[in-house]
């Protein structure tokens, strides 16, 4: 067990990042039925925003300062790309997000330049010894930020008035509009929160591996996580994030020696297996369509 524990801690810490990013992705999907293919670019923009603030602020403050900017960025995306397509076929919005991804890739390079960057400063050291196992500072930070935020959002969606409105819109947008719910404003807020979560994940990632275009690849991980949890389940996204993080760590320990390179394919294999048994994901809503 003492051998296994560090792998589990690493997996949970990485899973926290998966969960954070998937949460924002699923939130948008649930509220608007839009699959946001630009989620990796949201993370990229967030990391660069943090980088910019870290040039003149200590890193924790820079991360904090980047969050409202990221929220604003989410609002702008909604206003510029999504709202003009409101009422159109959802595929049109999905295609727009693919275009947005390309535009953001180019925009980031234009604005910040192509050279390699890194976050100046460090987060305060929170690593500690747990018996024989050392719990690294990064793992503590990932869990410390992702868990309360994820659970808080879940609570907000279930219990708060804002959450009820989001759920009402996601149930039936036209009915929500008819009841006088400020749909456009609330949906803009959902995009803002999604960008904010992606920014946090991006900043936590960039602390160790630097700020650069490679971060968008992390966005690809969101798809197996979200599908596994159930595309419309916010709680499922968080759970699936942790699950995949831990499974990847365990695969790194036990399967890699016999199947080198397998861990890269693992998320997709798990998704395939789960979808065979539960086509709507672990916690997704079972939808029955009558034809």
């Amino acid at each position: 067990m003492s051998d296994l524990l560090p792998y589990l801690i690493g997996g949970l810490a990485n899973g926290a990042l998966y969960g954070l990013l998937a949460l924002g992705f699923v939130l948008v999907y649930r509220a608007t039925s839009v699959v946001n293919f630009a989620i990796g670019e949201f993370l990229l923009v967030g990391a660069y925003l943090t980088y910019t603030f870290a040039l003149f602020l200590p890193l924790p403050l820079a991360m904090l300062a980047a969050l409202p900017m990221a929220f604003l960025f989410g609002l702008l995306v909604e206003r510029g790309f999504v709202r003009p397509l409101l009422g159109r076929n959802v595929v049109a919005v999905i295609m727009a997000t693919i275009g947005l991804a390309a535009a953001l890739d180019g925009g980031v390079q234009l604005l910040w330049g192509p050279d390699l960057k890194y976050l100046q400063g460090e987060l305060p050291q929170l690593g500690f010894q747990l018996g024989d196992t050392f719990v690294p500072s990064r793992a503590v930070w990932n869990l410390l930020l992702a868990l309360p935020l994820g659970l808080g959002l879940l609570w907000l969606l279930r219990k708060s008035r804002y959450g009820v409105l989001v759920r009402a819109i996601s149930e039936r947008e036209v009915a929500a509009l008819a009841l006088g719910i400020p749909t456009a404003r609330i949906l803009a807020g959902v995009w803002g929160i999604s960008a904010l979560l992606a920014t946090l994940a991006g900043a936590l990632l960039a602390v160790a591996s630097g700020v650069g275009h490679n971060l968008v690849f992390f966005g690809l991980k969101v798809f197996p996580v979200a599908i596994l949890g159930g595309l419309d389940s916010v709680g499922g996204a968080l759970l699936a994030g942790f699950l995949l993080g831990v499974l990847e760590a365990l695969s790194g320990r036990y399967l890699e020696p016999i199947l080198p390179g397998f861990t890269e394919a693992l998320p997709f294999v798990v998704v395939l297996l789960v979808l065979m048994v539960r086509p709507y994901g672990l916690l997704g809503e079972r939808q029955i369509e009558r034809v």
Binding site: G10, N14, D115, L116, Y118, S209, E256
Partner: protein, 395 residues
């Protein structure tokens, strides 16, 4: 007396000559072209753009300071590949179909994948070619007589690291961590074979994706294998810092090493104190090696041109070295009246007395690669890599 038909024939020849003469004259003054297919966008944009700058400076220097190539201007063509084989292939086809064969005398491509895909076509066209890749397979003049690797191959780089390991610790235990890409896998069979031949033991191998977000399982596996040295291969400066930081956190004592693409200062900046002692192979000069004539010259040249004098990355230096060496080979070919694709290949093969203003030991190709490198070690205090060896000859 000239017959009418004879007269008309002569008139025709004369008229043709009159029309054709200026054409011939301009043809002589037409530029010689060097095309580059670089990843200006995408995950390797940082390397592609720095490389482009090296080519721009190199070509400008050749034209403005060295007087061009045999009286002709050297012209640079730049195309973006986005680090994508399909896009790179399209860019290559665009360039070779647009440009005249007698003018386009060299193409510099991008990535191991693209270069391997283009290699048979390049051989068929007899087009002098090199690339950002140092893949072993490309340094094969029998199969690809016009392809050159402007540096040691990844196999050579492994050889240099293994020799250093043997110097530091006789029967060392080694671990290999590499990405599951052509770039990552290229030198692994050679490294395993050579390590064994040198009396070392490869105690662990890790195959990873080219980019990932958590190095804990890798480092814990390494800790269990307990190697003396860990060699990283096939990454682009986001994975190495992650592994180094995690190794430090988890108390791994092994010494880490890497090859050319890990030899950039961003590694030290991103890994922080965990970068201390990271040893790399690197075969050009750093921008801070001001004793190297090329660096001194380029600093002055950039200042004269009003260009930024701040740190230029290793990819800049690599491209500069290629541009200078190609221009030199072209100049020699022009001097011998052989400024053709075949002539450039011939004179590249005879460039052994040239050293690119000190950017390399020399350009004496051995099997179409330059088997010379130095080893550098990261110093966190200095924020740079410092040379720990002189030139090592690997063949």
């Amino acid at each position: 007396m000239m017959k009418r038909r004879e007269f008309l024939q002569k008139l025709g020849v004369g008229a043709l000559a009159a029309v054709g003469m200026p054409y011939v004259a301009t043809a002589q003054a037409r530029p010689v072209k060097l095309a580059t297919l670089l990843p200006l966008t995408g995950p390797f944009a940082f390397a592609g753009n720095a490389g482009r700058e090296g080519f721009v400076d190199g070509v400008d220097y050749v034209n403005e300071v060295l007087g061009g190539v045999g009286g002709r201007k050297l012209e640079l063509i730049v195309e973006d590949t986005g680090y994508d084989v399909a896009k790179g292939t399209a860019a290559f086809n665009r360039v070779v179909s647009r440009e005249r064969a007698e003018e386009l005398l060299f193409v510099y491509g991008d990535s191991t994948g693209l270069s391997k895909a283009l290699a048979p076509e390049i051989a068929r066209m007899g087009l002098p070619y090199s690339a950002t890749s140092f893949a072993n397979e490309l340094a094969d003049p029998k199969t690809y007589p016009t392809i050159f690797v402007f540096g040691p191959t990844y196999n050579d780089m492994m050889e240099a690291l293994l020799r250093q390991i043997r110097l530091q610790k006789g029967r060392a235990k080694i671990a290999l961590v590499y990405s599951n890409t052509e770039f990552g896998r290229d030198p692994i069979p050679y490294a395993k074979e050579r390590a064994k031949a040198l009396g070392m033991e490869v105690v662990h191998e890790e195959v990873t994706p080219p980019a990932f977000t958590d190095a804990t399982p890798i480092v814990l596996n390494l800790r269990r294998a307990n190697p003396d040295f860990v060699i990283l291969q096939g990454y682009a400066l986001s994975v190495e810092p992650l592994i180094l930081r995690t190794a430090r956190e988890q108390g791994l004592r092994a010494q880490f090493m890497g090859t050319y693409y890990s030899a950039e200062l961003a590694l030290i900046q991103r890994a922080g104190p965990a970068a201390e002692g990271f040893t790399v192979t690197y075969h050009n000069a750093y921008w801070y090696d001001t004793l190297v004539p090329a660096v001194d010259e380029m600093r002055k040249f950039r200042q004269k041109k009003g260009r930024d004098l701040s740190y230029r990355p290793t990819y800049y230096m690599g491209s500069l070295a290629v541009a200078l060496a190609i221009a030199e080979a072209m100049r020699r070919a022009a001097g011998a009246g052989k400024l053709t694709r075949a002539g450039v290949v011939e004179y590249l093969e005879k460039l052994g007395d040239y050293n690119g203003l000190g950017l390399l030991l020399n350009f004496q190709f051995v099997n179409h690669r330059l088997p010379y490198t130095k080893l550098y070690r990261a110093s966190v205090k200095d924020g740079r890599f410092n040379a720990i060896t002189d030139w090592i000859k690997l063949a």
